[in-house]
Symmetry: none
Subunit: 400 residues, 2 copies
């Protein structure tokens, strides 16, 4: 019996509601002058209070030493094995904009790009065109017709980014990126990486050629780069696995996408604390609300220690207005993003779970070092869901 | 190679003796007034002394978030994977009363019950009849003969409880309970839950019909309810796996049953500290003695914080009189039973191992929070056996 099947056999409904808040890239490293991390520096009365009455620990995202991207990191947080369930970015992008996606469809990300007269890429982001240009261009590509009868849908994502969904018989998703990540060279041809994906590569090639013709009236966005091809295989849903009616609240399409992949009802909001609080409070009928807070990661990637501290403090303020609405509150990050590294990292991430059934941690606050002493100990990130379900009395006893 | 086969390849005899003491439901949650758990509240000089000179940690029973019943919790403590080796309660009950059980037999639990004139259950426990009524009734059912030649043995367990063992060709154990857990309705017919178990269901139906005729002279115990059907598949024994001559001392049949399942020589005793001490001291020739202390769990399930504290203190007194007899002493619980929850829970359980080869923990005592800091760290409960064997110098070096 698989681990998830085992947990599924124990899942049971309950009226205890769960807030599952992910501060993207939460974990950090010490500032050389103070010796304190971003989280240890931030004034976080709500997080400290929850840590005091709850239990803390540290999560290992994926496996020791592994630096995860946001996709696998969230797949693990939702309880799935992120190595077993690898999902291409094209699929996450398409789910993120709520594109119609059915099992067997193949999806890829699109960047509009600039090509010179020789067909070489001069700008991989087409001069960072805005939505007002990108959206109608995506619409024009969506209106093109594939002569072989494959259904091809194009959806705008943001600025110079879009995504494409291929639907038809005999399509598999193991196709190489056409984006070589370089300028001064032409885009690559879409190449099949595995037997079974040849037809997809051929259909994608036709799509690219029609797109070049369609975009020939454009100066900046006169080409397309495709990447992150993958076939869509839905995950077993949270409803199916955990008997949870689950919702997601997030400002960025990627996180809405991974939430939809897990069967959550996904709600986009403005990237603004007031909007997040209001949307979560609308979710009163939901058993489980995943709230994604992005800017902690963004400021870490900027390398701006103080700005990341400020975002953690803002997130603490969001949490302050939500905790009373839930029986179980979980807070962690999907991975660390130390501002000193300006990138995601493999370091374990602070974790707290607060409910009525806790071995209260006491007054050590919520930080990377204090969590080492917490009652939850080390937790692999795909173990958080069962812990949270247990605290919500949503797992039956195993055996008599 | 399976994990158990690997450990088996390393097992070797030694003269170091192991006391393996399980305080049922040991783990708890803080009292709202004092902030201390039952174990943290109890005065436990022996446990504290062992924790000081030994190593402590916390065990996760089964998997994170999982609340185990006593059966799988003990199967894990004895080193077996409790998800792989799921054993029905009928088998544990039959082993608990030392019924003759052979591979391929099917066993089920019996409750004597009261039926009204329409055949509806009015009392699922037959007015809680005592042993003086239950035992001879079990004997009468045991004397009945199956017309198809299936050997059927009935053994009394306690009060209104008994068990039945079916032996014959073509019997499998996937049969549904006849106990609907309700009154005012008739017992269910025994139904096959899986291809291969049809014959068992049919034989059980005949048994129930003969039992009704046999019990028609009874007022309270005029019916039977069957549950926990399962086929008997013995576990590889502790002798086979670990080269251990192992004994169990327990007051409740269930724990004697799970010990016999692991091939231990099982000794029932009165539920009394003096009797336990005396019986363990009789086991001087045994390599390994499993001592089960039940009342910590019972008082937790009662929701009586102070009574659970008192039982922990009594168990500490039992231990005080035994430690000198053993080279390695292990103490833990099979799961937590916080009195605030009045039920088993998923919370990790304090663990200690004391031997001559310890990184002594120092003077922090033995409690849920102090064990977070212990040298053993987090241990899945099926990892305890190899640790204990190592401390008894019963595992050879792996490789050169």
């Amino acid at each position: 019996m698989s681990r998830l099947d085992f947990y599924r056999s124990l899942a049971t409904p309950s009226d205890r509601r769960i807030l599952f808040m992910v501060l993207d890239g939460l974990g950090g490293l010490p500032h050389p002058e103070t010796g304190l991390t971003e989280l240890e520096t931030a004034r976080t009365p709500t997080l400290d209070g929850l840590a005091g009455r709850g239990e803390t620990g540290l999560t290992t995202p994926v496996l020791p030493g592994v630096t995860p991207g946001s996709g696998p990191a969230h797949i693990a947080l939702f309880g799935y094995d992120p190595v077993e369930h690898q999902v291409g970015r094209g699929v996450l992008a398409a789910l993120g904009v709520a594109a119609d996606l059915r099992p067997g469809d193949v999806a890829a990300r699109i960047n509009f790009c600039t090509l010179d007269g020789d067909g070489n890429v001069t700008d991989r982001r087409a001069g960072r065109i805005g939505d007002e240009i990108g959206r109608p261009l995506a619409g024009r590509l969506d209106a093109m017709v594939d002569p072989d009868g494959v259904e091809i849908a194009v959806r705008h994502v943001k600025q110079y980014r879009a995504c494409v969904v291929f639907r038809g018989a005999g399509l598999e998703g193991k196709v190489a990126d056409t984006d070589s990540q370089q300028t001064g060279v032409p885009p690559l041809a879409p190449a099949s990486l595995q037997a079974g994906s040849e037809r997809t590569a051929q259909i994608a090639q036709g799509f690219v050629e029609r797109a070049l013709a369609e975009l020939s009236d454009q100066e900046a966005a006169n080409g397309v780069l495709l990447r992150g091809f993958d076939g869509y295989v839905p995950l077993p849903s949270m409803e199916h696995l955990y008997c949870l009616d689950a919702a997601a609240v997030a400002a960025y399409p990627m996180y809405l996408g991974v939430a939809r992949l897990a069967g959550m009802e996904a709600h986009g909001v403005a990237d603004d604390p007031e909007a997040m609080v209001a949307k979560v409070l609308e979710m009163g009928s939901k058993d489980f609300v995943f709230l994604h807070y992005k800017s902690t990661d963004s400021r870490g990637e900027d390398g701006d220690f103080n700005a990341k501290v400020a975002e953690i403090e803002k997130a603490d303020g969001v949490l302050a207005r939500l905790v009373e609405e839930f029986d179980v509150v979980m807070v962690t990050g999907d991975h660390s993003t130390p501002s000193s590294m300006r990138a995601h990292s493999w370091h374990p991430v602070p974790l707290l779970v607060a409910s009525a059934d806790c071995r209260a941690n006491g007054g050590q606050g919520f930080g990377e070092r204090s969590c080492v002493q917490g009652a939850l100990g080390r937790v692999r990130s795909d173990e958080i869901m069962p812990l949270v379900l247990a605290h919500a009395r949503r797992l039956k006893k195993f055996g008599a």
